[in-house]
């Protein structure tokens, strides 16, 4: 273990991001904290619209400002404060020190360029490599992600590859500069289940091989269980619970986490009705007062709509924000 292994690679403190539009202000992130250590995978879990992608885009420095405005908070990566560096410095970090993979490789790969071109251009931009050596490096990475050592894939256009191959090519593209951090934004959502497993295994393997930290964004707790070391649950722009993976799955504290876990299809509960959480994520322009989850929460009392529950520590880095922890609980049979 290196000395840097326990100092956080990425730290987000009190990040508050608002989108200022003509119709009003959308409060996308309401002060989130998150930290990630090298060699570990931190999963950010939530329904769509909860602020997961805004978080990753903020780390990448790819939020369009305006309409987005970073109201307060900080993002520290390695030694630098990502919110105060210039665009040019941020660009040098993107692709080089932070790689990113996306949900639908079919859409996120450029249809007009070959896979080879799309990988080598990154190497050429960041390392000033010559075409020939960049191609050799690209081949090496294609082999690493399981696309073989043949020249063929280099010359293929994205549409000539299957969904799984496209995602592998995308991964090769994201890690070809040996980034310290990989952001994976729902990388398996668009793939079918058998491919999901393969891709997750590949990401894990590459993480260990290159000692990367991974910020894994997903709405799928089944996928999160397989890949993550630590889980943060985000709801309406706020992290409601955060703990080691095993604690989140075995002893969730927040009713939202509890309900999410109950909504996972499970072979043991075969034949029973799948439990869904009624209602939907509030839109960021109209976040409910008090605890933003109270309109959907079966435990909610009048207090929940008036006060925001503080985030408290419950030992071993387990954090949660609810008034009723240890007092009331949701019956799994209901």
């Amino acid at each position: 273990m290196t000395a840097s292994a326990n100092t956080p690679l990425l730290t987000i403190n009190g990040l508050d991001i608002r989108f200022e539009q003509t119709g009003g202000v959308a409060h996308a992130l309401r002060g989130i904290d998150l930290s990630l250590v090298t060699g570990r995978t931190h999963a950010l879990v939530g329904e769509s619209g909860s602020g997961k992608t805004v978080t990753s885009m903020a780390v990448m420095g790819l939020l369009e400002t305006p309409p987005a405005r970073i109201h307060s908070g900080e993002i520290r990566f390695g030694g630098s404060d990502l919110l105060s560096i210039s665009d040019a410095e941020h660009r040098k970090i993107r692709g080089r020190q932070i790689g990113m993979i996306f949900q639908e490789p079919g859409k996120y790969l450029n249809p007009a360029f070959t896979i080879g071109e799309q990988i080598t251009e990154t190497l050429r931009v960041h390392f000033g490599m010559a075409r020939r050596s960049a191609t050799a490096k690209a081949l090496e990475f294609l082999a690493l992600v399981g696309l073989g050592k043949s020249q063929r894939v280099l010359k293929n256009y994205p549409h000539e590859l299957s969904g799984g191959m496209k995602q592998r090519a995308m991964i090769a593209m994201a890690i070809c500069c040996h980034p310290a951090l990989l952001i994976a934004d729902e990388p398996t959502t668009a793939l079918d289940v058998t491919l999901q497993l393969q891709i997750l295994r590949l990401i894990k393997e590459l993480k260990n091989r290159f000692d990367m930290g991974i910020l894994f964004i997903s709405h799928d707790l089944g996928v999160v269980y397989q890949i993550s070391d630590h889980v943060s649950v985000i709801y309406a722009g706020k992290i409601v619970e955060s703990a080691d993976r095993d604690r989140i799955f075995s002893q969730p504290l927040h009713p939202y986490t509890r309900l999410l876990l109950l909504s996972i299809p499970d072979a043991a509960k075969r034949g029973q009705r799948l439990r869904a959480i009624p209602g939907g994520v509030p839109d960021a322009e109209h976040i409910p007062s008090g605890c933003s989850f109270h309109p959907r929460c079966p435990l909610a009392e009048s207090r929940c709509s008036k006060e925001i529950p503080p985030t408290k520590a419950y030992g071993d880095g387990h954090l949660a924000a609810c008034f009723f922890i240890g007092k009331k609980w949701i019956d799994s049979s209901k």
Partner: protein
């Protein structure tokens, strides 16, 4: 290729019909107003217009296939030779026009899209509004007045040198550039909103590569198609512009053909232009498939 053949067949049939429906008899035009009826009958027999319409039609199709449109009723020269003699000028004019329109439209359209709501974008918008509103012949006259009559930069009449073609090509190109510019901007704006642009940025590519490499290559696909089709329209536009600048191109040839009810010339001319038009579209399809990797395989 089959489509190309079908188009030419269809066009030649329509042309044949239309020419026969137009009021006015070529024989009486040739013979003059006060001609004696027997002279007119003799001319008809010579032209073959006295034969049944079905026979005339079959003869016509046969001649189209041999690219022999007969002789001009007025000058007596073969129509094909007349057309080929005038073609280079019109073609040069059309090609120059499309080059000018591409040179204006693509850079300005791309800049307008990349720097949306900027000074460039407003310039592009003003240009395309004016360009679309102003007819090319009017623009031609204004350019003549300004640059030839007042400033004496370009010759007023005549042909033969490139200098004679600058103003007509400009008037053609500017009108077409307006349309092409709007298209380029729209296409580029659309591409810039695609997901792969986020990927390109996430790889740390400089904005210039994101815009002018990743988005531009995709944005140019529809633009190429339209630019090619515009080349065909440019031939039609050239016919009007030749009048303004008194250039001896195809336009003037056909126009006089129409005035004089020169059936073989009109028929041959329309079929010829239709053929060029179809051929250009056909070539554009091929070019498109070369540029678009998705089509290349299939």
């Amino acid at each position: 290729m089959g489509r190309l053949f079908l188009t030419v067949l269809l066009i030649s049939s329509i042309v044949f019909l239309v020419v026969r429906v137009i009021p006015g008899d070529p024989a009486s035009v040739i013979a003059g107003i006060d001609a004696d009826p027997s002279a007119i009958t003799a001319i008809r027999a010579k032209l073959g217009t006295d034969k049944p319409i079905s026979t005339q039609y079959l003869q016509w199709l046969w001649s189209v296939m041999r690219v022999d449109f007969g002789n001009s009723l007025i000058s007596g020269q073969p129509v094909t030779a007349l057309i080929l003699e005038r073609l280079p000028l019109t073609l040069t004019l059309a090609v120059l026009g499309i080059i000018i329109s591409i040179l204006i439209a693509i850079p300005l359209g791309v800049l307008s899209a990349v720097k949306r709501w900027s000074w460039w974008d407003y310039l592009g918008m003003i240009f395309s509004q004016i360009g679309m509103a102003v007819p090319s012949f009017w623009l031609g006259i204004i350019l003549l007045l300004l640059l030839s009559v007042k400033l004496n930069w370009f010759p007023l009449f005549g042909s033969g040198t490139v200098r004679h073609l600058v103003l007509p090509a400009l008037s053609l190109g500017i009108a077409r550039a307006a349309v092409l510019l709007r298209l380029t901007r729209a296409s580029m704006v659309e591409e810039l909103s695609k997901e792969y642009v986020v990927t390109a940025r996430s790889k740390g590519l400089p904005e210039r590569m994101v815009n002018y490499k990743h988005a531009l290559k995709n944005a140019l696909l529809p633009v190429t198609t339209i630019a090619g089709i515009q080349l065909g329209y440019m031939l039609g536009g050239a016919i009007i512009i030749e009048q303004v600048f008194s250039l001896p191109g195809l336009g003037r040839l056909f126009l006089f053909g129409i005035y004089q009810r020169d059936f073989p010339l009109i028929q041959g001319g329309v079929v010829f232009v239709a053929f060029i038009f179809s051929f250009i579209n056909f070539s554009v399809d091929i070019l498109y498939s070369l540029l678009n990797p998705k089509i290349r395989v299939s």
